[in-house]
Symmetry: C2
Subunit: 101 residues, 2 copies
């Protein structure tokens, strides 16, 4: 399992429209091969800065499978108009996980 983290700056005043667009686009991710979950986080110090966190079975499920699919185009069609700049994307792996909630 790998985690995609896309940092996305949103045009001022379009935050709630962007959040609705992500909620609508969630179904596209859910249907994508290898996609296991999606979370949207909003900055406290920088409220115009969001992180879209997506769990994928493999790196290629995101970088090859999803990005070359029609769903990627639809995702960008929904959310893209609210982007203030190009998303900065990285992938990470969890090396330690302690949850004591």
């Amino acid at each position: 399992m790998i985690v995609e983290i896309a940092e996305i700056n949103i045009k001022a005043g379009q935050e709630s429209q962007f959040e609705s667009a992500v909620a609508e686009a969630a179904a596209l991710f859910r249907a994508a091969k290898g996609c296991r979950g999606l979370r949207l986080q909003r900055g406290i110090e920088r409220p115009g800065c969001y992180q879209l966190v997506v769990h994928w079975e493999t790196l290629e499920d995101h970088t090859v499978g999803f990005r070359s699919s029609a769903a990627f185009g639809k995702w960008r069609e929904l959310a893209g108009p609210h982007f203030a700049s190009a998303p900065q994307v990285q992938h990470v792996q969890t090396v330690l996980d302690n949850d004591w909630r």
Copy 2:
């Protein structure tokens, strides 16, 4: 619930020592007031870049309570020697969470 994300660059060759230090320091976070979980993520594109992700009940549990505690000093004593530069810290809130694993 808020999430602290500390991006930490580690000195080359000290990655496994840093990971062990975080595993040891987890008990300090576990004992801290308002702390609900800790995750360590390692970059795939940038393997020397880690993210320490900590869940706190409130922002102040981290920025006031933990940072002014003796535990913070111990955490930095354990992990700090492996830092290549000062951690970049931000806080986020989850606005959408879909998990279909």
